[in-house]
């Protein structure tokens, strides 16, 4: 009796946290299933979720083979973009002139419509990994750069004047105060950008690739297989969720003090 009560005590908070999400997603899936079965709509137009999952299982080998290149493009592209964003954020933080010179270029890069750019980049750089990396980097670089720059700017003035009073150099102030202060902004940017990254990779493959979820979706669509399209979409969503989860985990490990702050606020 007492053990089961403690157990419920441990699991109840976790359950009560994820219950609303389970309920809303569950309701959507059930509604979709009922509509697809009883409205008389053809399975070519809208396959039921049960059918999508069936197709996904049936074609799991092909889906898996096409997921690996997408993961590769996402991870390499995002890695490049993160590195570049960090390097440029530091340069821009140390030089206002550089910032005024570069920011307009970065902003213009964000105005380019991906639909137009993706086929061109594929045309110039071929069906390999390079154009995918470039497109993923294009969509994620600027959000990460802005997050970092904003994070540096959010550094507490008192902390900076304290360090100045101690005789810390500009570089020292950056390492001791500005960089750690940017972490919450960095992770907020990371969570948003990682979802862009997957979309960017799929889009790049859609514009032309030998393998990948993007090209798989395109082929399935052209063969009138909406079940397979949705199965691939399911894989994309899962992939994005997993990457998102990884960033949350990294944040927890990297910022152990942050949860203390939140515990206080609640």
């Amino acid at each position: 009796m007492s053990t089961s009560r403690t157990r419920a005590g441990v699991f109840a908070p976790v359950f009560s946290k994820i219950a609303p999400a389970l309920l809303s997603v569950g309701t959507l899936v059930v509604a979709w299933e009922l509509y697809a079965r009883f409205s008389g709509i053809s399975a070519i137009m809208l396959p039921a979720p049960s059918r999508v999952i069936g197709q996904a299982l049936e074609h799991r080998q092909a889906l898996f083979d096409n997921t690996l290149p997408t993961i590769r493009a996402t991870v390499f592209g995002f890695g490049c973009s993160l590195t570049a964003a960090f390097v440029f954020s530091v340069l821009v933080d140390f030089s206002g002139r550089l910032r005024r010179a570069l920011f307009p270029v970065f902003i213009i890069s964000q105005t380019l419509p991906l639909v137009a750019i993706a086929p061109l980049v594929v045309l110039w750089f071929g069906f390999g990994l390079a154009p995918k990396i470039m497109l993923v980097a294009l969509v994620t670089f600027f959000p990460m750069l802005v997050a970092l720059v904003q994070g540096y700017a959010a550094t507490d003035d008192d902390i900076q004047s304290l360090l100045a009073s101690m005789g810390a150099s500009r570089v020292r102030v950056f390492l001791l105060a500005r960089l750690p202060s940017s972490l919450p902004y960095f992770f907020a940017g990371l969570r948003i950008s990682i979802t862009y990254a997957v979309v960017g990779a799929i889009f790049a493959e859609y514009a032309g690739a030998a393998k990948g979820l993007g090209i798989y979706i395109l082929n399935a669509k052209n063969n009138f297989r909406p079940g397979l399209v949705l199965a691939a979409v399911l894989v994309c969503a899962t992939l994005t969720l997993v990457l998102f989860g990884i960033t949350v985990l990294i944040q927890r490990v990297a910022m152990p003090w942050e949860r203390l702050d939140q515990g206080r606020r609640r």
Binding site: D158, I159, L162, M166, G167, W257
Partner: protein, 249 residues
């Protein structure tokens, strides 16, 4: 009477269009505890920013041990108005910050600071983060970070203003006891009249912005001061309040 450790001569500062410090002249002798008392927004924190080099003066002189304070000399250990603890560093690593900046390795710095934790009432909290400490403990940690730098002089900007009345009274007693023991040369900013009388050897009263020195009062009560209700203490308090509320140049 010994030569002043710190001497400010007609210090002036203005922020584009706003005259903040009009004429600040004051001295602090070695081992003396001096307070600056003034209305909110009159420019008290600005004085410290000029001393620590965060801002440039627009006139006047700063002499330390009789010579002008050139760039690069850092005789002050500064405690900012809010505790300015780094939320991402554990308390021990917050308190070693100044030593690390001075070039000590992390372990050397820790060795130097660790024995002081008991005296500062922080024993057992070395590995905690600032968010896990009470307001009073945070202030003590900030003060520990200030004094371990072993500079010639302490600059304390309203160290207790963010605390509740009871904690503040406790902290004032504690600071007085610490000062009795260490006899730091200290300049304290406050707008708490009682705090100034309780802690100081001398008190400078500033005017509203643009600030100048309105009055200088020597508090010749014996240390340790436990009896704040004594007639002498009350008389000084009354005079300070009178000066602050009815400033007559």
């Amino acid at each position: 009477m010994s030569a002043p450790r710190l001497e400010l001569r007609q210090l002036r500062k203005r922020f584009d269009g706003l005259d903040v410090l009009a004429d600040i002249s004051l001295t602090v002798r070695p081992g003396e505890f001096v307070s600056i008392l003034g209305p909110s927004g009159c420019g008290k924190s600005t004085i410290f920013k000029l001393l620590t080099g965060a801002l440039q003066t627009d006139g006047g002189e700063v002499l330390f041990d009789g010579t002008p304070l050139e760039d690069g000399r850092r005789p002050f250990a500064f405690m900012p108005q809010r505790d300015a603890l780094m939320p991402w560093r554990r308390i021990i690593d917050n308190t070693t910050l100044g030593l690390e900046v001075q070039g000590l390795s992390r372990s050397q710095a820790r060795e130097k600071v660790a024995p002081l934790f008991a005296e500062f009432g922080l024993d057992g909290f070395e590995r905690h983060y600032p968010a896990q400490l009470s307001g009073g403990m945070r202030q003590r940690a900030a003060l520990l970070r200030t004094v371990v730098q072993q500079r010639d002089m302490l600059l304390l900007d309203e160290p207790f203003s963010a605390l509740d009345a009871l904690t503040r009274a406790g902290m004032q007693r504690w600071l007085q006891a610490m000062w009795e023991r260490h006899r730091w040369t200290a300049l304290l900013i406050t707008h708490d009249v009682r705090e100034a009388v309780f802690l100081s050897d001398r008190i400078y009263v500033l005017t509203e912005r643009p600030a100048r020195v309105l009055d200088e009062i020597t508090v010749s009560l014996p240390h340790p001061r436990t009896d704040l209700a004594s007639p002498e203490a009350s008389a000084i308090e009354a005079r300070l309040l009178q000066t602050l509320l009815n400033p007559q140049p």
